[in-house]
């Protein structure tokens, strides 16, 4: 079981994610943005940060880097992909996840510990965490306001693709959405940072539960089964 973490120029949570993935019991490896080869990893994490400075629009430039072609192919094969914060923005810009992440309603960068509710436990990202579970972890972003058109939002709800919701919406996200998954179910993104909530010393290990279920799902070779 190996987790690859994409490193774009400007990624700044790549080594944090690597550290947390190892705490979750998996092998981790950093994947360089210029390479269109995933080195045979089972799971790809697109970490937080400011890829290419997040200039223009968060995530938009990263979408064109060589590694994203490989990530798209991996996703198309049913491989698991998780975008955290900036990674979520990249996945949304790349069209691998629905919606867009707009400037926070406050027009300010927000760092805060939030509580999110796990909405679904039938996903490889939340397997083993009962729906309704509350998890605490930090958000840290300037563009995290989840937006999609009403019809898309309705479809997301109907299909059970809203994975996480804020109890205390920090950014104006529509319907308090903190994380969603793709139609195929194997690609997910969330704005909060599970990798920063992976050790009691730092406040809590709630986030580690998410990473563990991701690692567990991939490790059990169940990935394909999650793909609808």
């Amino acid at each position: 079981m190996k987790v690859g973490i994409a490193v774009f120029p400007g990624s700044n949570c790549d080594t944090d994610a690597l550290h947390a993935v190892r705490l979750a019991g998996a092998d981790g490896e950093l994947l360089w943005h210029e390479e269109a080869d995933l080195h045979g990893v089972d799971v790809v994490i697109l970490p937080g940060g400011f890829a290419y400075g997040d200039y223009l629009r968060a995530g938009v430039i990263a979408r064109f880097s060589p590694i994203m072609r490989a990530v798209a192919a991996h996703a198309a094969r049913g491989g698991l992909v998780l975008g955290i914060c900036n990674g979520f923005q990249v996945l949304a810009e790349a069209g691998l996840l629905p919606g867009a992440l707009l400037r926070n309603a406050s027009l300010r960068f927000v760092h805060r510990w939030v509580t999110i509710r796990v909405e679904r436990d039938d996903s490889p990202f939340t397997a083993g965490i009962p729906a309704g579970t509350l998890l605490r972890m930090p958000v840290a972003h300037g563009e995290g306001c989840y937006f999609a058109e009403e019809v898309t939002l309705d479809a997301l709800e109907r299909d059970g693709r809203v994975l996480f919701r804020y109890l205390d919406n920090p950014n104006g996200s529509l319907r308090d959405i903190a994380g969603v998954r793709s139609t195929t179910g194997n690609v997910a993104g969330l704005m909060p940072h599970p990798e920063r909530a992976a050790e009691p010393l730092l406040g809590t290990d709630d986030g580690l539960r998410l990473l563990r279920s991701l690692v567990g799902s991939a490790g059990a070779s169940l990935a394909a089964a999650w793909v609808r």
Binding site: N12, F109, V110, E195
Partner: protein
């Protein structure tokens, strides 16, 4: 650069006639225009420390763990196991007054570069900010821009901003202070110095391209009184590019880890001219600069513009020729332009050549030498002034310990409930919650943050070890305004106390000295007194000053700022698991006051609210007592005696207790013996005190330990309930105050919820960002 006005060039560049004479003396001839431009920047106050150098030399710089002290880009102290921390405080006041966002952003960028230039990975930023009265829209605009700028840069680079200060005082209205401290972690074997050894080695400039931005920016701005408000006359502003900085961090650390560089210097004030003179000066070499090789982002730049541009996010490396290819490859991979812009030579001068160098570093045929200056003349042997210091006519100094002439126990109004005073203090701009600011900073990136902001010192774990680092910044400007020597001592004491209260052992001190115009004897006297104070305090605590920064000319037409000796301290916890936090941790813990109040309310927040008796002074400090307190706190923590600890500072004991209650979400019932005067006991800011809580079982050992350090210890009561209740007993409570019907004997009795509301809603309200849902701008629930 031709003279357009009648003024001779050197004066327009800010050099005096006497300085021109000195330059001639050092060169043995007239300088040409390019040389003069380089001198003007390098001999600016900002780059040369010409007014402060002799005094800074009096600061103690030796310490048992010191790896690198002043003179380097940042001080470095060993923390054992082959690891070391680099840290430094630096100001970016003047640029921030002009353009708050970019000024603050580039301030963060500059201090981060000082850290990674040493081979250390930056792991934390603390921002110490000072502004005028926040009720003014102009000040709020500055606060908003500076906070966005600090966050905009630090958040993007991915270094957590974990602490700092936000202080309002009218003297900063036109001249805000933006002091930023950065901390880095390195393997000692990777320590890198800003030297240019080995004639024949190559000088590589990498990072952003060089433009006209910031020509003379920081150095000129920070070296002249800032009064001219005409935008067209202001020097151009630098724009920070945190993305480029992030790439620069990664590329630089990779170069260092792979052993590819012989020396490294960041480009800040003075630009290429500064780096290519300071680095060889430290190594006893020289450098010849191939001007055409400098990658530029603008056409038609004059040689002087290229040499002194302060374009951000650039680094200068000295590289062995056989390692050049590897160095360039690292830069390419990180997307950074890089070029060989010169060579190290054996002649101790800086030569600037146009027309190119041949592969051996000799000017090509037809090349022109534009400048040649002995490097010492622009670096180590730059001009130094022994400025005149004269104390102001009336200096207010601390009263001797003991009762002041008139009891300074006035509460704002007769019969006022001390609980209401406590609420007013907690809701005052200088004591209320800073969540509105800290919530705009990423404080948890890098996953090391154990405690950030808000609660005294920041605590970071050191991955791969059991260790923790603790950091705090402090400056007592209000007392410094009354007595700069005492103010500086109190600043150092408080910063160290903040670190010691967690149980950490302080490692060293960095200082950023913000003062007025050093050419004015009274301003210089304040500076001299402050330096003496920092030195006295550091010697008393046995700590070295590892580096710092001086910012002069903090004046506006309304006058100088309050003298502000900003102090940064880093401490070490051998076991981060044994840190002591400041929040009440459990019910029925004993609440103990260590140390005792000393009279003197002047300079306190209470005095701002209530005024003080005319003859009252600031509180005195007993340095031995203070040092004993620090040692006591460390030993107590090592023995796991305290369940919580918090130092007594702004707002006094009552505010310290209120914060512990707010953070611990539980109250306490306490009895306070009033020895001097109630206001002094409750709200006085006398030093050398801490509140410690412990399990009742630990009390005897705690008392024995205090006894060993000859520290008075007073059990006040126990934690629990949802109110903070402080009953006042003893002579002071029934003496003069009660005779005058001041109602002092009333207890403090306030609900924790009310305290929390007063504390947390004040700043968002000031900034008009409490919305209908009762959330402030940073999203913290306020109601």
């Amino acid at each position: 650069m031709a003279a357009v006005s009648g003024e001779p060039l050197h004066r327009r560049l800010g050099l005096t006639d006497a300085e021109l004479g000195e330059i001639r003396g050092r060169l043995g001839r007239d300088p040409n225009d390019l040389e003069l431009a380089i001198f003007s920047v390098m001999w600016s106050e900002h780059c040369s420390y010409k007014s402060s150098k002799p005094l800074l030399a009096t600061l103690p710089t030796r310490g048992r763990d010191l790896v690198a002290g002043p003179g380097e880009n940042a001080g470095v102290v060993s923390i054992g196991d082959g690891l070391a921390v680099a840290f430094k405080l630096e100001s970016h006041n003047h640029p921030s007054a002009v353009e708050p966002y970019q000024g603050a952003a580039t301030g963060v960028g500059g201090i981060l570069r000082d850290i990674f230039t040493m081979g250390a990975r930056p792991i934390a930023v603390l921002d110490a900010l000072r502004f005028g009265d926040p009720r003014g829209p102009r000040v709020r605009h500055l606060v908003d821009g500076v906070v966005r700028g600090v966050g905009g840069y630090g958040n993007c680079v991915g270094v957590p901003t974990v602490g700092g200060e936000l202080v309002f005082h009218p003297s900063y209205a036109a001249n805000p202070l933006v002091n930023v401290m950065a901390i880095g972690l390195l393997e000692e074997r990777h320590l890198t110095r800003a030297v240019a050894p080995g004639p024949g080695n190559l000088v590589v400039l990498y990072g952003s391209t060089t433009g006209r931005d910031g020509i003379g920016g920081a150095s000129v701005l920070a070296s002249a009184e800032f009064a001219d408000d005409d935008p067209s006359k202001r020097p151009s502003v630098q724009v920070g590019d945190p993305f480029a900085e992030k790439l620069l961090v990664e590329a630089t650390l990779e170069l260092i880890e792979r052993g590819l560089v012989e020396g490294l210097q960041d480009l800040g004030a003075g630009g290429i001219g500064c780096a290519t003179s300071e680095m060889p000066d430290r190594a006893g070499t020289g450098i010849v600069v191939d001007l055409d090789a400098v990658p530029r982002r603008e056409e038609g730049m004059a040689p002087f513009e290229v040499m002194i541009s302060e374009s951000q996010e650039r680094m200068c490396a000295v590289v062995r020729p056989d390692r050049l290819a590897e160095v360039l490859e690292v830069c390419r991979r990180w997307g950074l332009p890089a070029a060989v812009i010169g060579r190290v030579t054996a002649r101790r001068d800086l030569a600037v050549v146009e027309g190119g160098l041949d592969p051996d570093g000799r000017p090509r045929p037809g090349a022109r030498e534009l400048a040649r200056i002995p490097v010492a003349a622009i670096a180590s042997e730059a001009i130094v002034y022994r400025r005149e210091a004269r104390s102001p006519a009336r200096v207010r100094s601390a009263p001797a310990p003991g009762a002041p002439v008139e009891p300074s126990d006035r509460l704002p109004e007769r019969g006022t409930d001390p609980g209401a005073v406590l609420m007013a203090l907690l809701g005052s701009p200088n004591l209320c919650s800073r969540a509105w600011v800290s919530g705009q900073y990423d404080s948890t990136v890098m996953t090391n943050t154990v405690e950030a902001c808000e609660r005294g010192a920041a605590v970071l774990r050191v991955k791969g070890t059991a260790k923790g680092l603790v950091a705090a910044t402090d400056a007592n400007a209000t007392v410094s305004a009354l007595d700069p020597h005492l103010g500086a001592i109190l600043s150092v004491a408080e910063a160290i106390r903040n670190v010691a209260v967690t149980g950490a052992r302080p490692l060293g001190v960095t200082d950023c000295l913000n003062f007025g115009n050093p050419e004015k004897p009274e301003a210089f006297w304040r500076f001299a007194e402050a330096v003496r104070g920092v030195g006295d305090a550091c010697r008393a605590f046995g700590l070295p000053v590892t580096g710092g920064n001086v910012s002069f000319y903090n004046e506006s037409p309304e006058g100088p700022i309050a003298p502000t000796p900003q102090i940064g301290v880093v401490g070490l916890l051998e076991d981060v698991g044994r840190r002591v936090g400041p929040a009440f941790a459990a019910d029925d813990d004993l609440v103990v006051l260590v140390g005792e109040a000393v009279p003197g309310l002047a300079g306190s927040v209470y005095a701002e609210l209530a005024g003080v008796a005319p003859e009252d002074g600031p509180p005195a400090i007993d340095l031995e007592r203070e040092a004993a307190l620090h040692a006591f706190l460390q030993e107590a923590a090592a023995a796991r005696l305290p369940s919580a600890a918090q130092d007594v500072s702004g707002g006094g004991l009552a505010v310290a207790l209120a914060e512990m209650a707010i953070w611990g979400e539980r109250g306490a019932r306490l009895d306070l013996r009033v020895g001097t005067a109630p206001a002094v006991e409750l709200f006085g800011e006398g030093p050398s005190r801490a509140v410690v809580t412990c399990h009742p079982d630990a009390w005897e050992r705690l008392a024995a330990l205090a006894d060993r350090f000859r520290l008075p210890l007073e059990p006040l009561g126990a934690t629990g309930g949802d109110r903070l209740v402080i009953e006042l007993h003893g002579e002071g409570s029934t003496g003069a105050a009660e005779d005058r019907g001041a109602g002092i004997a009333d207890p403090v009795d306030v609900s924790i919820e009310a305290l929390r509301h007063a504390w947390s809603s004040a700043l968002p309200r000031l900034f008009g960002e409490v919305d209908e849902t009762g959330r402030d701008g940073a999203g913290t629930v306020v109601a």
